[in-house]
């Protein structure tokens, strides 16, 4: 499902973000990506949906060969992946509901389905009453939950979430985690970068720890590690 073979990433300004990453994530897995700030977690994730291109190495996601992928095929890769971006990336001119609907519109879902599905997902993340509000009128945590809703809405086969609970209180965080777990139970692969020690240590899943752009630990049913 997701395969990386000796992947390196050097940014244009010379930063070496990833230094030889090899990983294999099979369909239906639930993977935490942990590591200190600036370790390369987001970069690792951005390579999967081709926001960034690797400097070296091979990447395969959902049957797409990321290296060879033509520009005009990229949207089809991205539709098969639901992404919760670390900085949310909501469209500022669309309401919360429209933002979620957008992910359905791009795949030409009929109108009446969109309305129903958007309402449903927004309720799942606890924002049934914020459908018509613009992003800049939402609290930080509310924005984050809209981003989660958008990632789920079109039932992608992979969900990639970059720090999806960073702006959420524990209760909402657990809510999101339960959602992820339910989706995962239905066979959806989930990759989630997180700093939330409680979550990682409670809902025990595979843990990939990245430090300085290298995988320093890869354990199924792992712990957050990093004691202090």
């Amino acid at each position: 499902m997701i395969e990386m073979q000796d992947v390196w990433k050097e940014y244009a300004n010379g930063t070496h973000a990833l230094n030889g990453i090899s990983v294999h994530i099979t369909k239906g897995e639930f993977v935490y990506v942990v590591g200190p700030s600036g370790a390369g977690k987001s970069t690792f994730i951005k390579l999967m949906y081709r926001e960034e291109r690797p400097t070296r190495g091979h990447i395969f996601v959902n049957g797409f060969n990321i290296e060879r992928l033509k520009n005009r095929k990229i949207p089809y890769l991205r539709r098969s992946i639901g992404v919760v971006f670390q900085d949310f990336k909501l469209l500022p001119r669309l309401t919360a509901g429209e933002n979620v609907a957008y992910a359905l519109e791009v795949i030409s879902t009929p109108h009446r389905h969109i309305r129903k599905r958007v309402k449903e997902v927004m309720e799942l993340v606890g924002l049934g009453d914020k459908l018509d509000v613009l992003p800049n009128q939402l609290s930080g945590g509310e924005q984050q939950r809209v981003a989660v809703a958008r990632a789920l809405v079109n039932n992608p086969s992979v969900i990639i979430a970059d720090e999806p609970t960073g702006n959420l209180d524990p209760e909402n965080s657990w809510g999101i985690m339960k959602l992820f777990q339910r989706i995962n139970d239905r066979g959806t692969t989930i990759v989630m970068a997180t700093h939330n020690k409680d979550i990682v240590n409670t809902i025990r899943k595979r843990v990939i720890a990245i430090e300085n752009g290298k995988i320093v630990r890869d354990e199924s049913k792992g712990m957050y590690g990093y004691d202090n």
Binding site: P75, Y76, R78, F85, K89, L91, R93, Y102, S108
Partner: protein, 297 residues
Amino acid sequence: MIINSLSRHFKEGAKNLIRNGWMSFAAFSAVVVTLAIVGVSLLVALNVQQMSKYVANQLEVSAYLQQNLSNAEGQKIEMQVENIPGVKSVVLETKQQGLKQLETELGPQYGDLLKGLGTNPLPVTLIVKADNPRDTLQVANNLKTIPQIASVNDGAEYVRPLFRVLDIVRNIGAVLLLAMFLTAVFLISNTIRIAIFSRRREIEIMRLVGATNGFIRMPFLVESTLIGVFGGAVPAVALDFLYQYLYQISGGYFYGIHFPLISVNWFVIKVTVALLVLGFVLGFWGGFMSVRKFLRI
């Protein structure tokens, strides 16, 4: 499906137009002002062209028959001249009319000079116009080959500079109009580009959530095309009214001078169509180019 998605793009485009509020308005008003200038240039150019034509149509050749030919004989030659290809009209001026006119031309100061004359020394004169004013000299040369015509006043020393001036005016006008046009193209697409530039982050997000370039582009195209069309409609309507008003107060003549202006209907159609088409094309094209730029990122 396609109709469904077309209507979606149209709705999104119109919605963006409104939600962008200030920015849409700024781009719209830039289009209005720019196309108003193009419209005024067009107004001036069309009327100058009309005037050139009018001036050229005044051109005529005077053919003086042999002095011994009578008015009646002149009429035969008149018919002959009428059949020369390229001749539009011939007017015969009798010996008597000629004398009379000379008297008026000389004025009271010199008019007395003519009183001393015994017989009328003036020849019968044919005043000839060419179908195409530019062929005037050609026609004059043809007239010279007729033996009964003693001399021809083709006004060459006058015709040549006239056409030179008209050509200059036309050329400069065309260059300026083209310059105006290119400027409008540049300014409008530039404005739309700047407006879309400020939304490149949005475009980036759309790509990240799986929208194809076509899907992203369509609402922007609708939006910028609407800006262009509305931006063309305003000066089109305004200039129509303005011109109608000017035409009315001037009585259809250029400020009481001799040149007839282009009639309102004719102008209305040309300007309205030109500005609307320009607005449409520039809005569409400007949007197309700028979105493309940010879709490549």
